[in-house]
């Protein structure tokens, strides 16, 4: 009976002061939305990051550290320490434990985007996210020597369509002075956005990669020795080396044994890494930052809760008459104190509910836009336990801080005399 009275009084009181409290509630809502949003994004970005590449059991490259190998093969950051001989790649193909191999040949760029030389197995076996395959938004995979498939980000940024002719540059960097001007490539396909570095690269065949480098053995084009597309027709371009290999195994249980065998390969020094392990190691390096961000947001919520308490304490002086009436009518100091706790809790719950709705709206509106413009994969999903816990901590914190005005009201109303305070 008393609890119901307290709740109905608190509700009426909140409604009565809705104009002032709406602003406080708005502040709290925004800060809770920020907190929830950052926690949500943290999970999403981590998910998106660690699923940059999936289903690939091993990445094999020249001997180097696992982060380095991961960075240049998957993220197209930095350069390879060395190449793998073509013969080694052929030997790997003979290994019965290995189901499929994707050769990767790096080194050139197109207006700042990496050129990846590969073969048809890339389109067939490469997986990202939760095992999603690459799909073409338009056109088809490269077939001819001078065909190129563009990542979604490249096509969007440079506004390319099918059948555009593009000139690749030798080496990395966005302003290269040595271009493969004799051998323009034709866009035959454009990939769907993936939200991974795949979007930020262009794909050609290993033959194409080899063909444009005929006559470039010294690092620059030697006039007269480079090929024209006409000369390239019908010739066989077998590369002498590739940069790295993505491998998928028949039986995952053999992953570690194959990795050890490759690391001890006698033909040349190789490194084989498990992409999942390397990705989480890389994420650990960056998680300090996102933790700090979450911490800051936590403080924003605490600040707005303190603001809420400041407002409630200010309102307390206005409420002296009402408290006097309730006390004289027989309400206990505990009931008066509980009004503050209920009001504070109600405000926090309202703020949480609104911010939940707000976040849902924002994520569902911005999700597709983020993917196409920033390659960030943020999908609407049910909250996980950690996020629910974070959300639930807001009303809990509100109750804790509400103890301040509640205690002061309790103390005041215990010594409350008849009539208004101050009168005797």
């Amino acid at each position: 009976m008393k609890a119901r009275l307290a709740i109905s009084l608190a509700t009426a009181s909140l409604w009565h002061r809705r104009k002032v409290l709406a602003l406080v509630c708005l502040t709290l809502t925004l800060s809770v939305t920020l907190l929830l949003g950052i926690q949500y994004l943290r999970t999403e970005v981590k998910q998106s990051f660690t699923s940059t590449i999936s289903d690939t059991d091993l990445i094999i490259g020249a001997r180097s550290g696992q982060i380095n190998l991961l960075l240049y093969t998957v993220f197209h950051i930095g350069d390879a320490t060395n190449n793998i001989r073509w013969s080694t790649f052929q030997e790997l193909k003979q290994d019965t434990r290995i189901d499929w191999l994707i050769p990767i040949s790096l080194g050139d760029s197109y207006k700042g985007f990496r050129v990846v030389g590969t073969d048809e197995s890339f389109g067939k076996h490469f997986r990202f996210g939760r095992g999603q395959p690459l799909t073409l938004a338009s056109g088809q995979w490269f077939d001819g020597v001078f065909d190129v498939v563009l990542g979604a980000g490249v096509a969007k940024k440079l506004n390319h369509a099918l059948d555009d002719k593009i000139i690749l540059s030798h080496g990395g960097g966005s302003t290269s002075f040595s271009n493969h001007t004799n051998t323009p490539f034709t866009v035959t396909g454009i990939l769907e956005p993936t939200g991974t570095p795949v979007d930020q690269a262009v794909y050609i065949s290993l033959q194409g990669m080899e063909a444009i480098h005929v006559g470039w053995e010294s690092g620059v084009a030697i006039p007269g020795r480079t090929l024209t597309p006409e000369q390239a027709e019908g010739r066989n371009f077998t590369p002498s080396a590739i940069t790295a290999v993505f491998a998928g195994l028949d039986r995952k249980i053999l992953t570690f044994r194959v990795q050890r065998d490759l690391n001890q390969y006698t033909g040349e020094p190789l490194s084989a890494i498990l992409p999942g392990v390397a990705l989480s190691e890389l994420w650990r390096l960056m998680s300090q930052f996102e933790r700090a961000l979450l911490g800051i947001t936590g403080f924003v919520v605490i600040t707005s809760l303190i603001g809420l308490i400041a407002v409630l304490l200010t309102l307390q002086t206005q409420r002296a008459h009402e408290i006097a009436i309730l006390r004289a009518t027989g309400a206990s100091p505990g009931l008066i104190a509980s009004l503050y706790i209920i009001e504070c809790l109600a405000l926090a719950v309202v703020a949480c509910v609104i911010s939940l709705a707000l976040s849902t709206f924002v994520v569902s509106m911005l999700g597709p836009w983020l993917l196409t413009n920033y390659g960030l994969q943020v999908q609407l999903r049910p909250l996980n336990i950690e996020e629910w816990a974070l959300l639930a901590s807001v009303p809990l914190a509100a109750v804790v801080v509400a103890l301040i005005p509640a205690f002061s009201a309790w103390q005041q109303s215990r010594s409350q005399g008849f009539g208004s305070p101050g009168e005797s």
Binding site: L5, E322, I325, T329, A331, G417, S424
Partner: protein, 238 residues
């Protein structure tokens, strides 16, 4: 502090009095002199007019009677219960069950409707609720009708009403559930003379119907003749 009793009639002492006060003193803190209050005995159903100029401790006296402040010495017996011996929680419950209060002004909870203000005591006390003999709402409606509050005001926020109406609503709140005692602290000081006389007549008539004792505090002596007893608090300034 002197006091003089002008009680007209004396009832037999064995009957349980509504209010009985003996040797009552109070001090706000150790350094201030104690306020002393007159002994008094108010039989059930009779009304007492307590007269005293400002600063003579009228509100303090009511706070002591209502059990909201603890006395320094002396005893307060309401309906045979020594309230200064009760714990804080029991005093609150006793007040909810047996005492109606009317203040000088700001009598109503601003965010409740007229009806919700009147039925407030029934929500704080089962005894008061049971004594209505019907639903608190219908009891409130009868009281509001008797106190001439138009029906159109019943579901309205009380802040839109005139002072006279607000004081009458406060009276309805004090009367609902027929408490044995009503403590009224200068309830008419903000009213004009017409409203004041009407208010006192209605309050006392309705209290008599319920056998409720009214302790009425005012600095306006002209109101005293409507009461069975009157007491002077403090010295009248020369």
């Amino acid at each position: 502090m002197n006091s003089q009793s002008e009680s007209s009639t004396q009832r037999p002492a064995d009957e349980t009095a509504a209010i009985e006060v003996k040797d009552l003193t109070f001090r706000w803190d150790k350094h201030q002199p104690a306020l002393t209050f007159p002994d008094l005995r108010l039989p059930q159903g009779e009304h007492l007019f307590l007269h005293g100029p400002s600063g003579t401790g009228k509100s303090t006296f009511l706070s002591l009677l209502a059990g909201m402040l603890p006395p320094a010495t002396g005893s307060i017996s309401l309906l045979g219960t020594a309230i200064q011996k009760l714990g804080a929680g029991k005093r609150d419950r006793f007040r909810a069950d047996h005492i109606g209060v009317i203040f000088q002004q700001f009598n109503l909870v601003p965010y409740l409707t007229t009806e919700a203000n009147v039925t407030l005591p029934c929500r704080l006390s089962r005894t008061r609720k049971a004594s209505t003999g019907e639903t608190p709402a219908s009891s409130a409606h009868r009281l509001l009708t008797a106190l001439a509050i138009p029906e159109s005001h019943w579901q309205r926020k009380v802040t839109q009403l005139s002072i006279g109406q607000q004081q009458r609503i406060a009276a309805a709140r004090a009367l609902i559930g027929a408490p044995e005692i009503i403590l009224a602290d200068e309830p008419t000081s903000a009213l004009d003379s017409d409203n004041r006389d009407r208010f006192i007549n209605l309050l006392l008539t309705l209290a008599e119907e319920r056998n409720t004792s009214v302790l009425f505090v005012s600095h306006d002596r002209s109101l005293a003749q409507r009461f069975h007893h009157q007491i002077q608090l403090g010295q009248v300034p020369a």
